[in-house]
Amino acid sequence: MSDKRIKLRTYFYSKFLILIVSILIIFTTLNYFEAKDEIIKKNRDLENNIEKSIVNNIKTVNSSYKMLGEVFNDELKKILYKLKNEYKQKQDVSKLDLAKIKSELDMNVDLYVINNKGVIIATTYPTDLGLDLSKYTGFFENLMNILNRKDFAYDALTPETQTGKLRKYAYLRSDDEEYIFEVGLQSSGFEKYLKDLNYFQLANKIQRNSQYVSDIKIFRASNALSNITLFGKPETRIKEETKEIIAEMYNEDIKERVFSLENYKKKYILLKLRARDIPSDLSKVVEITYDTSLMNKSLMSNLFSHLILSVVAILLSISLVYYFSKRFTQPISQLSSNLDKISKGDLDFPIDKQIKLKNILEVNNLITSINDMVSALKEKISTLNRQKINLENSEKALRESEASLRTVFEAAKNVAFIKTDCDPGSLKILEFSPGAEQIFEYTREEIVGKSVEMLHLEEEVQKLPEMLKWMRENMQGINQETTLVRKSGETFPALFTTHPILDAKGEMTAALGVSIDITERKQSEEELDRLRNYLSNIIDSMPSILVGVDKVGKVTQWNDEAQRVTEISSQKAIGQALESVFPRLSSEMRRLEKAMQTQKVYSEHRQPRKQDDETRYEDITVYPLVTNGTDGAVIRVDDVTEQVRIEEMMIQSEKMLSVGGLAAGMAHEINNPLGGILQTVSVMHNRLSNPEVAANQKAAREAGTNMQAIQSYMQSRKIFSMLERIRESGNRAAEIVANMLSFARKSDSNFSSCDLAELIEQCLELAGADYDLKKSYDFRKIKIERDYEQGLPLVKCESSKLQQVVLNILRNGAEAMHDWLLESGEARQPRFTFRLAHEAEQGKVRIEIEDNGPGMDEATRKRIFEPFFTSKPTDQGTGLGLSVSYFIITENHGGEMSVESTPGEGSKFIIKLPAEISPA
């Protein structure tokens, strides 16, 4: 069925096309025929013109001939009268000497005598003698007419068919009416006047002037076929059928005959020119041959051009019609498609969407009406819907809520819904949700109808009736955390909510219990607590003070170290302003704000702080907290006092090293002048005191004295002791320089393997020798104890340096013990104990030198190795001894040196030196 339906566009298209194409065809056809007619008519006009001009020409020529002929009339009259008179005289035709007459005339004439039967009986033109003229009917009739007349009869001037020469005949009867005399005057002189007045020349001219005419022939017309000849070309054999046509036309007086052939057309025109008074019949038939091929060709091209034109027009109209039909039907089809959408239910679909030509009145009207219709429809539908919805709503809502409740009831796998009756005695379970099955591990079947008490702990069961009562009175549920019991007897923490179920009258008919297993939540809470504890433990175990503050400077975190230092507990501190609980950080408040603002870490190093007359140092760092939502900062305070001290010491030793470098540079410069002083003093002393030197004696003698006198003078003036003082002072300066140099000494060129026990013995020997003289105490009185390990390895060392160290310790110790014993009056035997031990693990040999002297306090002990530190009076030591020793051990030998002491009991110096590979 639908196949028969066609689109509007197709319909318009086909109808328009049929209409327009048929109009086009009709129009083109009409046009074609009109053009054809035009062509034909033109041709006909052309033909008419040609024919008319031919006929006129012929007539003109004839009239010209006639006029010309008049000229000959008198001449001919004279000749004829002569012939008549001759005959009158002779009365016998046969006695007429025509030739003689002709010769007398001296003219180109022919003379004829025709009897009354129309036969030529005598002539100067022998060819025609005996010619019976009666067979030329018309001519003969004319002849007979002439016989009846007395008068002349002139024939017309005619050109001869054969020669084209002009000839004029004239006739006259004999008085006895027996004969007719005929004179034919042939003029050869006229042609030049009549040059153009010639039939076929005219015909030729016409033919030349018209392409249309291919041939023109002029025939002499006659009823006798033999008489029919062609002008201009008399010898031409004329076709019999042509002759017959001409004869027929002549006889039946047919004006025209036309014969159409393929490419040409022949037209015969009869000119009846017979005159009564002229015996010759001048009638002619003109044959005009038209070349119709040209016309046919133009007709053909006309046809062809019309065909092409019509085809082009049809094609053009097809496309135009297609375009316009599409354009005009599009709004309709779009409208229909839009309407289709609307009809399918999309009432909000814009009807005018994608529609062109909206402004066209009809389309516009259509859109408006459809819109009106649609909106009316919509209104109607919505009204209907509203009514329907109102009608269904209550019922549906009921169904839905029931269904959704059911869904909740079924789907909430982690929630137990349990419906019970509200009999305080039984509390029977009426409904048990899948969630409840999962949580309590009972199936619905096995528990429905039983008491809800089995799901609660015993002590809770007692509270249930009370709860029920409360619910009934308050029409409200209860929400609490409790512990519930699974089928297995396992208990679990749960969120328990009850709700009264009311009937239509508002009476409580049942109770709904909702339980959620919160075991996991509890666990994660515990985990959170644990984590919190763990974190605070970490924070508390930090050796740094860690204090957290919020953005207004209130304390939020207070670790153990902070508690220890401030002696304020974290409970007291948290929530307080930082300044009040940690006053010395109040100066940090600005930095704190800045850190929070810029979210950058700020740190302050080595902040000095006085505590119990001691300067301590702290590093203070402020970390902004970048966790979202918790603006604040953490302040960390580290006590770096020890670190600072160590660093200071390191700086000091660096300083000492650079002092050593300076000393080395200076030593050479100082040693030279010292040499100048000391050596010169030595020479001076020698020259003043030595009598054995010959030069001395000689010089003394020359001065009038002797060496003894000089010596006694020097002695009494104490010159020698002065020299000695110079020498001593110089010596001390030299010693200082030498000691200072040992700071910088790096050379290990004098290292050798050495037995420490042996080295100690050498030192003891030296000490005894060295100090005996100078000091008032006797080193030999000091008791020496030796405690040496067996099989000690050798030590790689510079033995002289090591000796210097040991001697230094011995000297210091000996002096200290001597002085202390003198001062305290204690009866104690001074003693040195030497111990040597191999510390195999460290690969070191340990030397201990212990005395039983006064010892030293802690402050002294700490500074004992510092350069220029001394406990002795200023004139007794430089304070460089032990620091030089320290450098010799640590720097030169890669060893360690330390001191232990108990005041009042003695001191112990410990030296460790790297051991050589132990002897076998």
């Binding site: 080395a664 030593a667 010292l674 040499g675 050596q679 020479v683 030595n690 000494r745």
Partner: protein
């Protein structure tokens, strides 16, 4: 000492120090010469038949080490004792190998000049048998 006293040259740029040495050795009966630079010392070596040179190391121009090397090459019998103000000075190996150079290096100030004299004598003793053997 029956023979002519040996000739000693003191090469040191410090005049006071050099004078003290010259005076001391003169008093001891030595024949002494002095020079402030190595170049002066070479001039004296040309004109005098010197036996021993007490050399300072740090000198303007040619230093003591170079002087000993150069002079010992030209004068095979010449002896040398080093006396320097630089405490860190070590006798270079090539000089240590020369028998005419004393192994004892003196650091200024020399508190007891007799030790230096002793060293000079020692050097003469050390070289004597060789010299006599050759003669």
């Amino acid at each position: 000492m029956s023979k002519e006293m040996p000739k000693l040259l003191f090469l040191d740029d410090d005049e006071a120090l050099r004078e003290s040495l010259v005076d001391y050795f003169e008093d001891c009966g030595w024949s002494v010469f002095e020079a402030g630079t190595a170049e002066e010392a070479f001039k004296l070596l040309e004109s005098e038949e010197l036996d021993c040179v007490v050399v300072d190391i740090r000198l303007p121009g040619m230093d003591g080490n170079a002087f000993i090397k150069s002079a010992s090459a030209s004068y095979a019998d010449l002896k040398f004792v080093i006396c320097t103000g630089a405490p860190e000075y070590c006798l270079p190996q090539e000089l240590m190998d020369l028998p005419q150079v004393s192994n004892r290096v003196f650091i200024k100030p020399i508190l007891d000049l007799s030790i230096l004299e002793e060293a000079v004598r020692e050097q003469f003793e050390k070289c004597k048998p060789q010299g006599e053997g050759n003669a």
